[in-house]
Symmetry: D2
Subunit: 150 residues, 4 copies
């Protein structure tokens, strides 16, 4: 899909993956649109599916003793989402960031023509004892292998 | 408050505690009222405050190695709750139930005159290994002591 | 799918539909399993997809001036759901209930072999002014037409 | 409380208000801490209580035909929040921003000594027809009156 290929100006987007989501009633608030906090649940869905697409589900990272708690989140809302809308949620790993993980997100209308929201999440990497560590070698190697074969 | 005293027909309500909650925008949905699933968050708040009132915060039960996962939940909605409403959430321990824990809840309008919702939650008791066990002795004794002194 | 055909003892299940859901981190709580209130979000997803399957998306019911607020909910948890699990959520319209709408739900493990939870939701039917009315004719006719052709 | 007085370098914080919140089980996730999206619910609580403190509850702004949908949100997490923690959530109106509303937030540990998270939210102002408008005069006058009397 042309729309979602990596723009040349962002060469560090070696991994981009898009997931579909349908808005439920429980996502909305009395203004008639989606309550803002729920966008971060969708970012999680897209990020999670990207890890799976990479061949390394987030669950398998945890089972190897590493966790990726959020250290920073941001979202800009351009146009509201509504009940029963189908959304495309694109997650991209920003590999220009070192020592932690940063993901960029764009939420598109179903036809892919309109950007409804843009955001990012930053993640520390911690071990089982809660100590901040560098992202584990097996994860970085998986990312490099993916880049080399794409 | 006369309203919240135990009715004589429910002698097994030895512990009743009422907590106040103010409805936020994030609780509502596009129909303009509170999304039904959120009532169970409020039941949790009331149950939690009742444990604290009993002198046995739920956190201290967990730190002694016991957990109270939900096994069944129910709620009947009589009248909708709206944004910015102040609600009274009453939790009562139903001590007629043995081998597990059951709580009954009533949600009242701010003036205490209208019942907006009624429900219950049932909880198994499990130990650190996830095995179902009987409610621990220290918890039952705390409940009995409370009953004797009230 | 044999598993989900209507059992003969429940002839009033003329409409049964199953939806797939993958558990996200945001659904879980510190006990390591899914927070109970989130099951009702999943029931909504399944109910919503059943309306769509019926050819009558819930959104189209609202656009015709009718709303289906929840009047009662219930759920029994047999076995916990965990992060990243794929669940099958089955919604069935119980047409034996008159004057309102009742849906029964069963949540199955991905292989369809284990029932993780069972529940129901009851819905009043209200018009734009919030008055309780009987379910509209166009909805009942859609249900009958579906039954006759299946 | 000295801690929460406006620092002199931020003279545009003419309104600062702090609200208390206790973390519930439903706020946490399987990592054992609070799920990040929930911080924005808390920001809403603090923002809402600040409007009330100002003598202008958000509900009254809506009833006069103005809405404040979110246009941008940000949060930086310094230290995790845990189940049953009492948090202090400070909301400050940043009056240096024109044409829209911006709030800054800081979340403190119960003793006020540790900043757990910092963030902001930006809000457009829209009328009943969804058109973006300037913040209404009655709101700006309320803010100015508050500033002059404090």
């Amino acid at each position: 899909m042309g729309l979602f290929t990596t723009p040349s100006s962002k060469e560090h987007y070696i991994i981009t993956h898009t997931t579909t989501y349908r808005v439920i009633y429980g996502d909305t608030d009395k203004m008639g649109f989606v309550y803002h906090a729920n966008y971060f649940r969708w970012f999680e869905i897209a990020r999670s599916e990207m890890f799976r697409h990479l061949g390394m589900p987030y669950k398998s990272i945890e089972s190897r003793g590493f966790f990726l708690p959020l250290s920073e989140v941001h979202c800009k809302f351009n146009s509201p989402s509504q009940y029963d809308d189908i959304l495309l949620i694109e997650a991209s790993l920003d590999t220009s960031v070192k020592g932690m993980l940063k993901f960029d997100y764009r939420i598109f209308s179903e036809d892919g023509k309109k950007i409804l929201a843009k955001g990012y999440t930053k993640h520390a990497c911690v071990d089982r004892d809660g100590r901040v560590v560098r992202p584990p070698k097996f994860l970085m190697e998986t990312i490099e292998k993916y880049r080399d074969s794409n």
